[in-house]
Symmetry: C2
Subunit: 346 residues, 2 copies
């Protein structure tokens, strides 16, 4: 019988079909390596130099409105452009390239410069969820858009260049690599079983109750069995829907509460604003029905031992295989033990 | 006609079969995000607290020999162990895991604490190449070992916890994810064409001469057409051999010179010890012949704009698709313009 907390082993990621390596015995490894700088966190409610604060002027001269909840605009430095000609390049099938079209947007989560999701009320978070839903719907109306990636980079350690709470949406004309993998695995499962992969996976996880962090009427947050990042989690909708478009008012309320509780638990682990990259995975759009696709949201946080020591996905991980030290079950236990009130709240 | 330096586009990585996204117009993006600390680089030739310096005592009490060239030992904190029982875990095909066996080694590149590969002589680098070849041969003698990953994490930004010049070898009982992808693409090509994929790719790159950095009798270093990291490169052997085991004395000498020239050019870009994760990709061992496999070495360096501003592979990249700003051709030009004498040498 495989002993998860003693034997080095690999686990299958059902969504990508790829394995990750777990080295549970290695947690004792001493650390003399890089320690991250913690930027002092005493931001003002309003910063006159911030391009996301209400009333400020952005790079292209536009003035932000005096908004009350969340606020969205096209990224002034978009990685994708809506009007690129769809040219193709191919030399002997060895050098292959294709133009890619897209729209990149920025969403400010709050007019307050000094907040983050876990410090906002469930109602304020729900305004963000509403905006995500509206944006998804609007972007999908361009028939040339095939996939919409909604995500957030939180913390300078995750490449976030402005601490004002915000996320991004990149919508594009083809399906990105990670979505192709998840489409394939989910389609294969749905064809064989007539149910979504995540429906059956979620049912089993709820039965075992070893990795569940949040469980309310409509959503579950858990540490996936195959988590690669130390405190990686996933939010899964209990109803098998392909995208945020299908969320009812009641579901949006529950989703906001799930986001709030999960991110509060994160912040409480190391009593720090817990950095991560997070984003929803949803069915491709303008490409027929996708009953096999089950909406979910991934959280990839880099911290490992403390607020300043992260996991490095480097040499072996980049060249061969993702690897982790603490087990997903250990991470789940730590998350479960956290209070659901933010450490900064009095 | 697709304009590489103006239009956002995606390029196919022939070795993995996956695409990467290029956003050439985005280089103007301003940067107010995280800036890396540069550890002051005034290391002594010998550090009494370093576990790699000659004569010092390691974590487990072993005393390092007074070695002259390179030196190898089993990692005191190995991620893989040679004696794990090969147990399997499977619950409803939804939770799948397997024990993984392996051997992890550390290779000190030099008795000198203050050097790095680009500061060593070609002769000294060749001693490292000799050791890599010997270790590959010895590890492959365990018939349960199926793949051997030789790599180096250089710089604290790449999770390297000791600046003493060193690399690692992880040998294991199954084939890691990245190797499976490359095996598949190379096998498919070899079956169709009777030549290795990299033979034909290299021939075309030499003809075009747009991305070639080093070109000597036996090796080429180039920026691959599908590079994802800003200054990503690849060393390819001109002879199609599956592993380092086949390298002749003459080839080893040329390989050492290629390593030296490439890493000197790297250091010269930003006049800093250029961080990277690098490693060889070679045919799986103890699993029959692999005429489709063509030895090569990847360099994944994180720096983008300066010695302290790196590329973040975060939200969009983790959730959807690897993305880059400067084009591979721009990176190749910068690398070609560098002197082949190290900036510190007088
Ligand atoms: O074994 P080291 O050098 O302590 O560790 C370093 O390289 C390993 C292999 O790429 C990674 O798993 C670690 O995250 C990194 O810090
Ligand atoms: O667009 P931003 O926030 O400036 O940039 C950040 O997120 C992008 C999308 O994940 C990444 O490509 C960048 O490397 C990162 O710094």
């Amino acid at each position: 019988m495989l002993n998860f907390s003693e034997q080095p082993h690999k686990r299958k990621n059902l969504l990508t079909g790829e394995y990750i390596l777990v080295s549970p015995h290695r947690s004792k490894r001493p650390w003399q390596g890089q320690v991250e700088d913690l930027a002092p966190d005493n931001r003002p409610q309003y910063d006159p130099t911030c391009y996301l604060c209400p009333g400020n002027t952005r790079a292209d001269g536009t003035v932000n409105p005096e908004y009350n909840n969340s606020f969205v605009f096209v990224n002034d430095f978009s990685a994708l452009l809506a009007d690129t000609a769809l040219d193709i390049f191919n030399e002997e099938d060895l050098l292959k390239a294709e133009a890619e079209r897209g729209i990149c947007k920025v969403i400010s989560f709050s007019p307050r410069h000094d907040l983050t999701l876990p410090e906002m009320s469930a109602k304020e978070i729900q305004a963000v969820v509403d905006l995500w839903q509206r944006e998804f719907q609007e972007l999908a109306q361009h028939d040339w858009i095939k996939y919409i990636q909604i995500f957030e980079n939180k913390g300078s350690i995750m490449g976030c260049s402005n601490p004002h709470p915000h996320g991004q949406i990149w919508a594009q004309s083809s399906t990105p690599v990670e979505i192709q993998k998840e489409s394939e695995q989910q389609a294969d499962y749905f064809q064989r079983k007539g149910r979504t992969l995540l429906q059956d996976y979620l049912e089993l996880e709820l039965k075992k109750d070893e990795r569940i962090i949040v469980n309310n009427t409509h959503f579950v947050a858990l540490v996936p069995f195959w988590a690669a990042w130390p405190y990686e989690t996933m939010i899964i909708s209990k109803r098998a829907v392909p995208s945020i478009l299908e969320f009812t008012e009641e579901e949006k309320e529950d989703f906001a509460k799930t986001l709030q509780e999960l991110t509060i638990r994160y912040d409480n682990i190391f009593k720090t604003s817990f950095p991560y990259s997070a984003g929803m995975h949803q069915a491709p759009v303008n490409s027929g029905d996708h009953p096999e696709w089950h909406w979910h949201m991934h959280f990839y946080p880099p911290l490992l031992r403390s607020a300043t020591v992260k996991k490095f996905m480097v040499g072996y991980e980049m060249l061969a295989n993702p690897q982790r030290d603490i087990t997903p079950e250990q991470a789940a236990n730590t998350l479960k033990q956290q209070a659901t009130v933010h450490y900064k709240a009095k």
